[in-house]
Amino acid sequence: MDKLVINDLTFRYKNSGPDIIQNLDFTLQPGTFNVLYGPSGCGKSTLMKIIAGLYPEFSGHVTSGKMYIDSEDVDNWSTQDFSKHVAFLFQNPNDQFSMTTVKREFIFTLENLGMPVEEIEATIDRSLKRVGILGFKDRQLDTLSGGELQKVSLAITLAMDSDLIMLDEPFACIDIKSRKQLLELLKDLQENDHKTILVTDHDLMGYQEIVDALYHFNKGQVRPVLDPEKVFATYQKENRQLLFEKPGNGVESIIDLHELNLQNGTKSLINSASVDVFKGKMILLTGENGTGKSTLFSALTRLHNYHGSIKYLKKDILKYNQRKYARYVGLIFQDSQMQYLKLTVEDEIKLSLKHTNYPDFWTDETIEDYLKQLNLDQLKDHVVYQLSGGQKKKLQIFEMLILGDPVLLMDEPLAGLDLHSTKTVMKLIKEVASEQELTVLMISHQLGGLQDFFDYHLQLKDQCLTYTEVLNYESIS
């Protein structure tokens, strides 16, 4: 008996719009580990939301096709029927929860399913124990990191007893160590609890040993990959050790941190860090999930309180006029939409051109040329909020580069971008940064394809910030 059968499925968001999914056929065998890969923005998330029963309930229209889960026609299923059979982990783990603590979320979920009250406590304990996070039971959800939230989500799917677990780009914001742990956990659930697992990812690192079937999503259709080794090989090659120089003595600094202490609630993140950020350099900032990389960026942009001193060009950042300082140190937010102020792609770019520090550099031809490279040239009249995740990211990075602020902080700008887009974006950043002598500090978990782009590597580990020469990230596979 097949776990999931989809026949001839066609889906579109708007009645008049294009088909995102076109006459798609897809079958999953029970108790298998499946990976679906494809470029960003191709419709992988859409397909998953359809399987989870969220679409067309929340958005879009299914214009043709049939879907069967455990050989049952799902046409008349309620959302609750879906949730008993299919568990779905969102791309952004923060979006998964509606209550405040781990326990409350569990209770909410189990009450929804009508579980008798006397079984609830034991079910929570059993599920948390299975995932190895019993200690999280009374934690507030907003104090957990992305990786920890994913584990809580998984534990909840166990409590719900759904047999098909789907994860949508689960590692986009997760460090290598958590990624490895989660993959091991998923494999364990598949082998010992006979769960059927379906993961979408654009990065196939670490999957080779554990998948049973690999599928490729392209142009609205899913095809099984018959020679997965070949595909995996191309992904493995990208993954090596990254080598960096160590900053020499003669390099000028632009931001100086002195005895910096950062906290998140009561948790200490950075303890007495004294380090310089060097002018005109591209610096990669790495560190495990929840170590405080994003919080450091918030402190640098005056969005988070800190102890100690942060100086920009030898002057305390708190002494600058707020508006002026915002144009010295810019931040590319993890959430692209935070950056937008206008409605269409064209207006967004115009706004950046109005305030650019390098009006001579950004001629119409240069803009057009870069837009083509980014595959955004056909989307000028599109509403920014309706772009795909990858397109939003690309536009966001581009418009911040046009502004040409002396320091640009980038928080996971490559999350959700496929290998090809990553390279295009990195090339763009490198070109513009060297042309305009920008200082770039970038957080990235995605390290594939980053060779030769960065001057230095700043590591956040054990609450300390240090420049290191070697960054290993191969250990995963």
Binding site: L54, Q80, F90, Q96, S98, N112, M160, R327, L403
Partner: protein, 218 residues
């Protein structure tokens, strides 16, 4: 006391208070409210805060009625200013002696409020800390792009609406993905019963209130 019953009682008292013409009744309600807060071990800081914050509106009300009031200006001035204190402590009872979770849970079980409303509201309350942070981020993000957002800028409203829409969509998808469905029956981990003694207490409060209302006190 059961949160729903407490809410009902506070609402009835507040409503009747609005029509009562007695300074002493106001003071008695405010005093009883204060005693209840103290008995419930609400922190002295919070109680002090309620007293301090209200000084300006109380004094303002008193002064404007005293100087511009028609008829018995003195009585009106004291009546309106003491009424503020009565309301503040009644509000304090609702805010400080119970949580939103308890109130909504009780309304769902005791008053049969639709679960969609209860959990939707609860989810929205859980978003509150994010709202403050997001507004700050929105302003900074705009400054980084060379634009200043003010309270009157259309962009800030536009962005707020967009973000709210996204949040509400996310929230409902999060709830549904964890099995929420308004039409099916759910179980209740925390149960809210109305203990028998709640009824006589509520009754005594209401009867006492009628005495205050119709006894013609100053």
């Amino acid at each position: 006391m059961n949160p729903s019953l407490k809410l009902g009682l506070v609402l009835i008292i507040s409503f009747e208070l609005a029509f009562m013409q007695s300074v002493i009744a106001n003071l008695i309600v405010a005093g009883l409210g204060l005693i209840y807060l103290i008995l419930k071990r609400v922190s002295p800081k919070k109680i002090l805060w309620m007293l301090v914050v209200s000084i300006i509106p109380v004094f303002g009300t008193w002064f404007s009625f005293y100087t511009h009031g028609a008829g018995d200006a003195m009585h009106s001035a004291w009546l309106l200013s003491t009424r503020i204190y009565a309301y503040i402590f009644l509000g304090g009872i609702l805010s400080y002696t119970g949580t939103v979770d308890e109130l909504l849970g009780s309304l769902e079980q005791n008053c049969h409020l639709p679960s969609k409303f209860v959990y939707g509201t609860l989810g929205a309350f859980n978003f509150a800390p994010r709202v403050v942070l997001t507004v700050k981020q929105m302003k900074t993000a705009a400054m980084m792009r060379g634009e200043a957002l003010h309270v009157w800028s259309p962009e800030i409203f536009f962005k707020s609406i967009l973000i709210s829409l996204r949040w509400s969509d996310n929230l409902s998808q999060a709830m549904v993905s964890h099995g929420f469905n308004e039409t099916t029956t759910r179980t209740h981990y925390d149960t809210f019963a109305i203990p028998w003694w709640n009824w006589p207490v509520a009754g005594i409060c209401l009867v006492g209130l009628q005495f205050l209302a119709f006894s013609g006190l100053f």
